[in-house]
Protein backbone atom coordinates (compact mmCIF):
# COMPACT_ATOMS: atom_id res chain seq x y z
CA UNK A 1 0.00 0.00 0.00
CA UNK A 2 1.34 3.35 -0.97
CA UNK A 3 1.80 5.74 1.90
CA UNK A 4 -0.51 8.74 1.94
CA UNK A 5 2.54 10.97 1.93
CA UNK A 6 3.47 9.79 -1.57
CA UNK A 7 0.43 11.34 -3.26
CA UNK A 8 1.05 14.39 -5.45
CA UNK A 9 -1.89 16.24 -3.95
CA UNK A 10 -0.46 15.71 -0.47
CA UNK A 11 2.96 16.92 -1.57
CA UNK A 12 1.47 20.12 -2.95
CA UNK A 13 -0.70 20.64 0.12
CA UNK A 14 2.27 20.06 2.41
CA UNK A 15 4.50 22.51 0.56
CA UNK A 16 1.80 25.20 0.55
CA UNK A 17 1.21 24.80 4.28
CA UNK A 18 4.92 24.65 5.02
CA UNK A 19 5.62 27.85 3.09
CA UNK A 20 2.71 29.64 4.78
CA UNK A 21 3.67 28.51 8.27
CA UNK A 22 7.41 29.17 7.93
CA UNK A 23 6.84 32.42 6.03
CA UNK A 24 4.45 33.88 8.55
CA UNK A 25 6.58 32.66 11.44
CA UNK A 26 9.67 34.42 10.06
CA UNK A 27 7.71 37.54 9.16
CA UNK A 28 6.22 37.60 12.65
CA UNK A 29 9.61 37.21 14.32
CA UNK A 30 11.20 39.88 12.10
CA UNK A 31 8.31 42.28 12.70
CA UNK A 32 8.21 41.68 16.42
CA UNK A 33 11.93 42.19 16.93
CA UNK A 34 12.48 44.98 14.43
CA UNK A 35 12.22 47.84 16.88
CA UNK A 36 14.68 46.26 19.25
CA UNK A 37 17.14 45.40 16.49
CA UNK A 38 17.20 48.88 14.95
CA UNK A 39 17.67 50.34 18.42
CA UNK A 40 20.68 48.07 18.89
CA UNK A 41 22.08 49.13 15.53
CA UNK A 42 21.68 52.78 16.42
CA UNK A 43 23.58 52.29 19.69
CA UNK A 44 26.25 50.37 17.82
CA UNK A 45 26.86 53.31 15.49
CA UNK A 46 27.26 55.62 18.46
CA UNK A 47 29.62 53.15 20.12
CA UNK A 48 31.72 52.84 16.97
CA UNK A 49 32.00 56.60 16.45
CA UNK A 50 33.05 57.05 20.06
CA UNK A 51 35.53 54.19 19.78
CA UNK A 52 37.27 55.85 16.82
CA UNK A 53 37.93 58.96 18.92
CA UNK A 54 39.25 56.88 21.79
CA UNK A 55 36.20 56.92 24.05
CA UNK A 56 35.89 53.28 25.05
CA UNK A 57 36.05 50.86 27.94
CA UNK A 58 39.19 49.04 26.84
CA UNK A 59 41.06 47.15 29.50
CA UNK A 60 44.52 45.86 28.71
CA UNK A 61 46.04 45.58 25.28
CA UNK A 62 43.80 43.05 23.61
CA UNK A 63 40.28 44.08 24.43
CA UNK A 64 37.81 46.01 22.32
CA UNK A 65 35.17 47.21 24.75
CA UNK A 66 32.63 49.85 23.88
CA UNK A 67 30.80 52.23 26.15
CA UNK A 68 27.92 50.07 27.44
CA UNK A 69 24.67 50.26 25.48
CA UNK A 70 22.80 51.73 28.43
CA UNK A 71 25.06 54.76 28.74
CA UNK A 72 26.11 55.27 25.15
CA UNK A 73 23.35 57.73 24.24
CA UNK A 74 24.39 60.19 26.97
CA UNK A 75 28.12 59.69 26.40
CA UNK A 76 27.65 60.22 22.68
CA UNK A 77 26.01 63.60 23.23
CA UNK A 78 28.67 64.55 25.72
CA UNK A 79 31.65 63.98 23.42
CA UNK A 80 30.22 64.61 19.96
CA UNK A 81 29.84 68.36 19.87
CA UNK A 82 28.65 68.78 16.32
CA UNK A 83 27.28 66.59 13.59
CA UNK A 84 27.54 68.04 10.11
CA UNK A 85 26.08 66.96 6.81
CA UNK A 86 28.21 68.09 3.90
CA UNK A 87 26.40 68.29 0.61
CA UNK A 88 28.33 69.94 -2.20
CA UNK A 89 29.86 73.05 -0.63
CA UNK A 90 27.21 73.37 2.04
CA UNK A 91 27.57 72.07 5.54
CA UNK A 92 24.51 71.94 7.76
CA UNK A 93 24.18 70.77 11.29
CA UNK A 94 21.99 67.74 11.80
CA UNK A 95 21.83 65.87 15.06
CA UNK A 96 20.82 62.68 13.28
CA UNK A 97 23.69 62.76 10.80
CA UNK A 98 25.09 59.55 12.26
CA UNK A 99 22.02 57.71 11.02
CA UNK A 100 22.72 58.55 7.37
CA UNK A 101 23.04 55.34 5.41
CA UNK A 102 26.41 55.56 3.66
CA UNK A 103 25.56 52.65 1.40
CA UNK A 104 22.36 54.30 0.13
CA UNK A 105 24.15 57.60 -0.44
CA UNK A 106 26.83 55.83 -2.44
CA UNK A 107 24.36 53.94 -4.63
CA UNK A 108 22.33 57.08 -5.17
CA UNK A 109 25.44 59.02 -6.20
CA UNK A 110 26.48 56.21 -8.56
CA UNK A 111 23.07 56.05 -10.21
CA UNK A 112 22.63 59.77 -10.63
CA UNK A 113 25.69 61.79 -11.60
CA UNK A 114 24.03 65.06 -10.60
CA UNK A 115 23.25 63.94 -7.08
CA UNK A 116 25.45 65.48 -4.45
CA UNK A 117 25.82 62.82 -1.83
CA UNK A 118 25.39 63.64 1.82
CA UNK A 119 28.63 63.24 3.71
CA UNK A 120 28.22 63.03 7.48
CA UNK A 121 31.06 64.42 9.57
CA UNK A 122 31.23 64.25 13.35
CA UNK A 123 33.19 66.73 15.41
CA UNK A 124 34.12 65.41 18.78
CA UNK A 125 35.89 67.00 21.68
CA UNK A 126 37.85 65.19 24.37
CA UNK A 127 40.03 66.88 26.97
CA UNK A 128 40.07 70.09 24.95
CA UNK A 129 41.18 68.39 21.76
CA UNK A 130 39.09 68.39 18.59
CA UNK A 131 38.50 65.24 16.57
CA UNK A 132 37.08 64.97 13.07
CA UNK A 133 35.42 61.59 12.67
CA UNK A 134 34.78 60.32 9.17
CA UNK A 135 32.68 57.28 8.26
CA UNK A 136 33.94 54.90 5.57
CA UNK A 137 32.52 52.00 3.65
CA UNK A 138 34.19 49.60 1.24
CA UNK A 139 34.53 46.03 0.04
CA UNK A 140 36.37 43.19 1.74
CA UNK A 141 36.87 39.71 0.38
CA UNK A 142 33.37 38.34 0.92
CA UNK A 143 31.20 41.29 1.77
CA UNK A 144 31.05 44.87 2.94
CA UNK A 145 33.57 46.39 5.34
CA UNK A 146 33.09 49.74 7.03
CA UNK A 147 34.51 51.85 9.78
CA UNK A 148 35.30 55.26 11.21
CA UNK A 149 38.55 57.17 11.32
CA UNK A 150 39.19 60.11 13.62
CA UNK A 151 41.65 62.81 12.64
CA UNK A 152 43.06 65.66 14.66
CA UNK A 153 43.43 69.23 13.38
CA UNK A 154 46.69 68.38 11.57
CA UNK A 155 44.91 65.49 9.82
CA UNK A 156 46.90 62.87 11.72
CA UNK A 157 44.98 59.70 12.57
CA UNK A 158 43.90 59.59 16.21
CA UNK A 159 42.08 56.30 16.07
CA UNK A 160 40.07 53.99 13.86
CA UNK A 161 37.32 51.46 14.12
CA UNK A 162 36.74 48.80 11.49
CA UNK A 163 33.98 46.29 11.13
CA UNK A 164 32.90 43.80 8.51
CA UNK A 165 29.91 41.78 7.47
CA UNK A 166 31.42 38.45 6.56
CA UNK A 167 35.22 38.32 6.49
CA UNK A 168 36.86 35.01 7.36
CA UNK A 169 37.17 34.50 11.12
CA UNK A 170 40.81 34.45 12.18
CA UNK A 171 41.98 36.04 8.92
CA UNK A 172 40.16 39.01 7.38
CA UNK A 173 37.94 39.36 10.42
CA UNK A 174 41.04 40.45 12.34
CA UNK A 175 40.63 43.98 10.97
CA UNK A 176 38.49 44.64 14.04
CA UNK A 177 41.18 43.42 16.43
CA UNK A 178 43.25 45.80 18.51
CA UNK A 179 46.60 44.75 17.02
CA UNK A 180 45.43 45.89 13.61
CA UNK A 181 43.41 48.97 14.52
CA UNK A 182 45.99 50.34 16.97
CA UNK A 183 48.61 50.45 14.22
CA UNK A 184 46.75 53.29 12.55
CA UNK A 185 47.16 55.65 15.49
CA UNK A 186 49.53 58.47 14.66
CA UNK A 187 49.77 57.59 10.96
CA UNK A 188 49.65 60.54 8.58
CA UNK A 189 47.28 60.63 5.67
CA UNK A 190 48.79 63.75 4.07
CA UNK A 191 52.13 64.03 2.32
CA UNK A 192 52.71 67.76 2.43
CA UNK A 193 49.56 69.12 0.89
CA UNK A 194 48.62 66.01 -1.06
CA UNK A 195 46.31 63.30 0.25
CA UNK A 196 47.87 59.83 0.12
CA UNK A 197 45.83 57.83 2.65
CA UNK A 198 47.20 54.83 4.50
CA UNK A 199 48.23 51.60 2.80
CA UNK A 200 47.86 48.21 4.44
CA UNK A 201 51.17 46.89 3.18
CA UNK A 202 52.77 43.47 3.03
CA UNK A 203 56.49 43.45 3.68
CA UNK A 204 56.24 46.74 5.51
CA UNK A 205 58.73 45.22 7.92
CA UNK A 206 57.61 47.45 10.75
CA UNK A 207 55.73 45.17 13.18
CA UNK A 208 55.86 47.62 16.05
CA UNK A 209 54.69 50.35 13.69
CA UNK A 210 57.36 52.79 14.74
CA UNK A 211 57.52 54.61 11.43
CA UNK A 212 54.51 56.90 11.44
CA UNK A 213 55.41 58.97 8.36
CA UNK A 214 55.42 56.14 5.83
CA UNK A 215 51.63 56.05 5.31
CA UNK A 216 51.78 52.29 5.80
CA UNK A 217 50.63 49.78 8.40
CA UNK A 218 51.50 46.08 8.56
CA UNK A 219 49.15 43.78 6.65
CA UNK A 220 47.41 40.77 8.17
CA UNK A 221 48.71 37.31 7.26
CA UNK A 222 46.28 35.45 5.04
CA UNK A 223 44.01 38.44 4.50
CA UNK A 224 45.47 40.26 1.51
CA UNK A 225 42.18 41.15 -0.14
CA UNK A 226 40.55 42.39 3.05
CA UNK A 227 43.66 44.52 3.67
CA UNK A 228 43.53 45.93 0.16
CA UNK A 229 39.86 46.69 0.78
CA UNK A 230 40.78 48.72 3.87
CA UNK A 231 43.42 50.64 1.88
CA UNK A 232 40.95 51.39 -0.90
CA UNK A 233 38.21 52.36 1.54
CA UNK A 234 40.45 54.92 3.29
CA UNK A 235 41.71 56.34 -0.02
CA UNK A 236 38.23 56.66 -1.48
CA UNK A 237 36.14 57.88 1.43
CA UNK A 238 38.53 60.02 3.46
CA UNK A 239 39.64 61.88 0.32
CA UNK A 240 36.13 63.30 -0.11
CA UNK A 241 36.43 65.17 3.16
CA UNK A 242 39.92 66.62 2.76
CA UNK A 243 39.04 69.86 0.89
CA UNK A 244 36.28 70.52 3.36
CA UNK A 245 38.43 69.82 6.42
CA UNK A 246 41.16 72.14 5.13
CA UNK A 247 38.65 74.91 4.58
CA UNK A 248 37.11 74.23 7.96
CA UNK A 249 40.51 74.39 9.66
CA UNK A 250 41.24 77.79 8.10
CA UNK A 251 37.96 79.25 9.24
CA UNK A 252 38.44 78.21 12.83
Amino acid sequence: MAKFTDKNSYTILFSVIMVLVVGSLLAGVAQGLRGKISENERFEKQQNILYAMGVDNNEGTGSVEFIPTKEVEAVFHKYIKKQLVIQGDEATEDENAYLIDIKKEETHANDDANYKRKLPLFIGEKEGKTYYIIPMRGKGLWDAIWGYVSLDKDLVVEGVYFDHKGETPGLGANIKERFFMDDFEGEQIMNGNAFVGITVAKGNNDPLNERKEDHKVDALAGATITGNGVTAMIKKDVARYIPFLEKFNKEQ
Binding site: K3, T5, D6, Y10, T11, F14, S15, M18, V19, V22, L25, L26, V29, A30, L33, K36, I37, N40, F43, E44, G62, T69, W142, H164, K165, G166, E167, T168, P169, G170, L171, A173, P207, L208, A221, G222
Partner: protein
Protein backbone atom coordinates in the same frame (compact mmCIF):
# COMPACT_ATOMS: atom_id res chain seq x y z
CA UNK B 1 26.17 5.25 32.01
CA UNK B 2 23.20 5.10 34.29
CA UNK B 3 21.27 7.85 32.62
CA UNK B 4 21.29 6.44 29.12
CA UNK B 5 20.78 2.92 27.89
CA UNK B 6 23.72 1.26 26.15
CA UNK B 7 22.15 1.81 22.75
CA UNK B 8 21.56 5.47 23.48
CA UNK B 9 25.04 6.17 24.79
CA UNK B 10 26.43 4.60 21.63
CA UNK B 11 24.63 7.35 19.72
CA UNK B 12 26.73 9.93 21.51
CA UNK B 13 30.04 8.08 21.76
CA UNK B 14 30.27 6.59 18.27
CA UNK B 15 30.54 9.89 16.36
CA UNK B 16 33.31 11.01 18.71
CA UNK B 17 35.72 8.44 17.34
CA UNK B 18 34.85 5.42 15.22
CA UNK B 19 32.12 7.13 13.22
CA UNK B 20 33.39 10.70 13.35
CA UNK B 21 31.58 12.97 10.88
CA UNK B 22 34.77 14.63 9.71
CA UNK B 23 37.45 11.95 9.77
CA UNK B 24 35.32 8.93 8.85
CA UNK B 25 32.28 10.25 7.00
CA UNK B 26 34.24 13.20 5.55
CA UNK B 27 31.38 15.65 6.05
CA UNK B 28 31.62 19.28 7.12
CA UNK B 29 35.16 19.62 5.79
CA UNK B 30 34.60 23.09 4.31
CA UNK B 31 33.83 24.76 7.61
CA UNK B 32 36.57 22.75 9.30
CA UNK B 33 39.07 24.30 6.89
CA UNK B 34 37.64 27.79 6.85
CA UNK B 35 37.22 28.80 10.45
CA UNK B 36 39.86 26.87 12.41
CA UNK B 37 42.62 29.51 12.27
CA UNK B 38 41.76 30.39 15.87
CA UNK B 39 40.73 28.19 18.74
CA UNK B 40 37.98 30.57 19.85
CA UNK B 41 36.30 30.54 16.44
CA UNK B 42 36.43 26.72 16.44
CA UNK B 43 34.72 26.51 19.83
CA UNK B 44 32.01 29.01 18.88
CA UNK B 45 31.29 27.12 15.67
CA UNK B 46 31.20 23.78 17.50
CA UNK B 47 28.64 25.07 20.01
CA UNK B 48 26.50 26.75 17.33
CA UNK B 49 26.35 23.59 15.25
CA UNK B 50 25.47 21.55 18.31
CA UNK B 51 22.47 23.75 19.12
CA UNK B 52 21.17 23.81 15.55
CA UNK B 53 21.75 20.11 14.92
CA UNK B 54 20.12 18.96 18.17
CA UNK B 55 17.04 21.17 17.77
CA UNK B 56 16.77 20.53 14.03
CA UNK B 57 17.03 16.78 14.50
CA UNK B 58 14.17 16.86 17.02
CA UNK B 59 11.97 18.99 14.73
CA UNK B 60 12.61 16.76 11.72
CA UNK B 61 12.02 13.67 13.81
CA UNK B 62 8.66 15.01 15.04
CA UNK B 63 7.63 15.71 11.45
CA UNK B 64 9.13 12.51 10.02
CA UNK B 65 5.75 10.89 9.34
CA UNK B 66 4.21 13.86 7.59
CA UNK B 67 7.07 15.09 5.39
CA UNK B 68 6.44 13.87 1.82
CA UNK B 69 9.30 11.74 0.51
CA UNK B 70 9.54 13.60 -2.79
CA UNK B 71 10.32 16.98 -1.29
CA UNK B 72 11.98 15.91 1.94
CA UNK B 73 15.32 17.58 1.16
CA UNK B 74 13.60 20.91 0.47
CA UNK B 75 11.56 20.54 3.65
CA UNK B 76 14.74 19.86 5.65
CA UNK B 77 16.47 22.83 4.10
CA UNK B 78 13.57 25.13 4.91
CA UNK B 79 13.42 23.93 8.50
CA UNK B 80 17.12 24.43 9.14
CA UNK B 81 17.11 27.81 7.38
CA UNK B 82 14.08 28.97 9.37
CA UNK B 83 15.67 27.82 12.64
CA UNK B 84 18.91 29.60 11.91
CA UNK B 85 17.16 32.84 10.90
CA UNK B 86 15.05 32.84 14.06
CA UNK B 87 18.12 32.25 16.23
CA UNK B 88 19.92 35.03 14.37
CA UNK B 89 17.07 37.51 14.84
CA UNK B 90 16.61 36.69 18.51
CA UNK B 91 20.34 37.11 19.13
CA UNK B 92 20.35 40.44 17.30
CA UNK B 93 17.50 41.70 19.46
CA UNK B 94 18.59 40.42 22.87
CA UNK B 95 22.33 39.65 22.65
CA UNK B 96 23.62 42.06 20.05
CA UNK B 97 27.32 41.78 20.85
CA UNK B 98 27.17 37.99 20.78
CA UNK B 99 25.46 38.07 17.41
CA UNK B 100 28.22 40.38 16.13
CA UNK B 101 30.80 37.82 17.17
CA UNK B 102 28.94 34.97 15.51
CA UNK B 103 28.30 36.97 12.30
CA UNK B 104 29.35 34.60 9.52
CA UNK B 105 28.97 31.42 11.55
CA UNK B 106 25.22 31.76 11.45
CA UNK B 107 25.23 31.59 7.66
CA UNK B 108 27.85 28.85 7.58
CA UNK B 109 25.72 26.62 9.79
CA UNK B 110 23.01 26.26 7.13
CA UNK B 111 25.52 25.08 4.56
CA UNK B 112 27.10 22.50 6.85
CA UNK B 113 26.59 19.13 5.22
CA UNK B 114 26.59 17.34 8.59
CA UNK B 115 23.26 18.98 9.42
CA UNK B 116 21.48 17.89 6.26
CA UNK B 117 23.28 14.56 6.46
CA UNK B 118 21.98 13.76 9.94
CA UNK B 119 18.45 14.95 9.10
CA UNK B 120 18.40 12.67 6.09
CA UNK B 121 20.22 9.68 7.53
CA UNK B 122 18.94 9.63 11.09
CA UNK B 123 16.17 12.00 12.15
CA UNK B 124 13.81 10.96 9.34
CA UNK B 125 13.80 7.39 10.63
CA UNK B 126 14.08 7.75 14.40
CA UNK B 127 12.17 9.00 17.41
CA UNK B 128 12.82 12.51 18.79
CA UNK B 129 14.87 11.53 21.88
CA UNK B 130 17.23 9.31 19.90
CA UNK B 131 17.48 12.00 17.21
CA UNK B 132 18.37 14.54 19.86
CA UNK B 133 21.18 12.32 21.17
CA UNK B 134 22.38 11.69 17.63
CA UNK B 135 22.51 15.42 17.01
CA UNK B 136 24.50 16.07 20.19
CA UNK B 137 26.87 13.19 19.43
CA UNK B 138 27.59 14.16 15.85
CA UNK B 139 28.01 17.82 16.68
CA UNK B 140 30.41 16.83 19.47
CA UNK B 141 32.42 14.66 17.08
CA UNK B 142 32.56 17.51 14.61
CA UNK B 143 33.45 20.02 17.33
CA UNK B 144 36.18 17.78 18.71
CA UNK B 145 38.03 17.76 15.37
CA UNK B 146 37.46 21.50 14.95
CA UNK B 147 38.95 22.19 18.35
CA UNK B 148 41.97 19.92 17.75
CA UNK B 149 42.67 21.58 14.40
CA UNK B 150 42.05 25.05 15.84
CA UNK B 151 44.44 24.29 18.72
CA UNK B 152 47.34 23.36 16.45
CA UNK B 153 46.70 26.07 13.88
CA UNK B 154 46.54 28.86 16.44
CA UNK B 155 49.46 27.51 18.48
CA UNK B 156 51.81 26.96 15.54
CA UNK B 157 50.51 29.75 13.31
CA UNK B 158 50.13 32.64 15.74
CA UNK B 159 51.85 31.32 18.87
CA UNK B 160 48.72 32.02 20.89
CA UNK B 161 45.84 30.03 22.39
CA UNK B 162 42.47 31.76 22.77
CA UNK B 163 44.42 34.97 22.19
CA UNK B 164 46.91 34.41 25.03
CA UNK B 165 50.55 34.53 24.04
CA UNK B 166 51.55 31.10 25.35
CA UNK B 167 54.87 30.89 23.50
CA UNK B 168 56.05 34.36 24.41
CA UNK B 169 55.98 37.59 22.45
CA UNK B 170 57.22 37.31 18.83
CA UNK B 171 57.90 41.04 18.57
CA UNK B 172 59.63 41.59 21.89
CA UNK B 173 61.44 38.23 21.42
CA UNK B 174 60.56 36.66 24.74
CA UNK B 175 59.83 33.03 25.66
CA UNK B 176 60.49 30.57 22.81
CA UNK B 177 61.08 33.38 20.37
CA UNK B 178 64.25 34.32 22.26
CA UNK B 179 65.76 31.07 20.95
CA UNK B 180 65.03 31.90 17.33
CA UNK B 181 61.65 30.17 17.08
CA UNK B 182 59.34 31.58 14.40
CA UNK B 183 55.60 31.26 13.87
CA UNK B 184 54.65 29.23 10.83
CA UNK B 185 52.46 31.58 8.80
CA UNK B 186 51.40 28.65 6.62
CA UNK B 187 49.32 27.33 9.49
CA UNK B 188 46.95 30.27 9.09
CA UNK B 189 46.04 29.22 5.56
CA UNK B 190 43.35 26.68 4.78
CA UNK B 191 45.57 24.08 3.04
CA UNK B 192 47.39 23.47 6.32
CA UNK B 193 44.05 22.74 8.00
CA UNK B 194 43.53 19.99 5.44
CA UNK B 195 46.97 18.61 6.25
CA UNK B 196 46.21 18.68 9.99
CA UNK B 197 42.93 16.82 9.37
CA UNK B 198 44.86 14.38 7.18
CA UNK B 199 47.25 13.71 10.05
CA UNK B 200 44.34 13.12 12.43
CA UNK B 201 42.82 10.66 9.96
CA UNK B 202 46.18 8.89 9.63
CA UNK B 203 46.70 8.62 13.38
CA UNK B 204 43.15 7.41 13.94
CA UNK B 205 43.31 4.72 11.26
CA UNK B 206 46.70 3.44 12.22
CA UNK B 207 45.44 2.95 15.80
CA UNK B 208 42.27 1.20 14.66
CA UNK B 209 42.88 -0.86 11.52
CA UNK B 210 39.20 -1.70 11.12
CA UNK B 211 38.56 1.85 9.99
CA UNK B 212 40.72 1.48 6.87
CA UNK B 213 38.51 1.20 3.81
CA UNK B 214 39.04 -1.77 1.45
CA UNK B 215 39.55 -0.95 -2.21
Amino acid sequence: MGLLSKKDSKLILDPLADNNPITIQVLGICSALAITAQLKASIVMAVSVMVVLAVGNVVISLLRNVIPGKIRIIAQLIIVAALVIIVDQVLKAFAYSLSKQLSVFIGLIITNCIIMGRFEAFALANKPWRSFLDGIGNAAGYGLILIIVGFFRELLGSGTLLGFKVLGDPIAKTGLYAFGYENNGFMLLSPMALIVIGIIIWVQRSRNKELIEEH
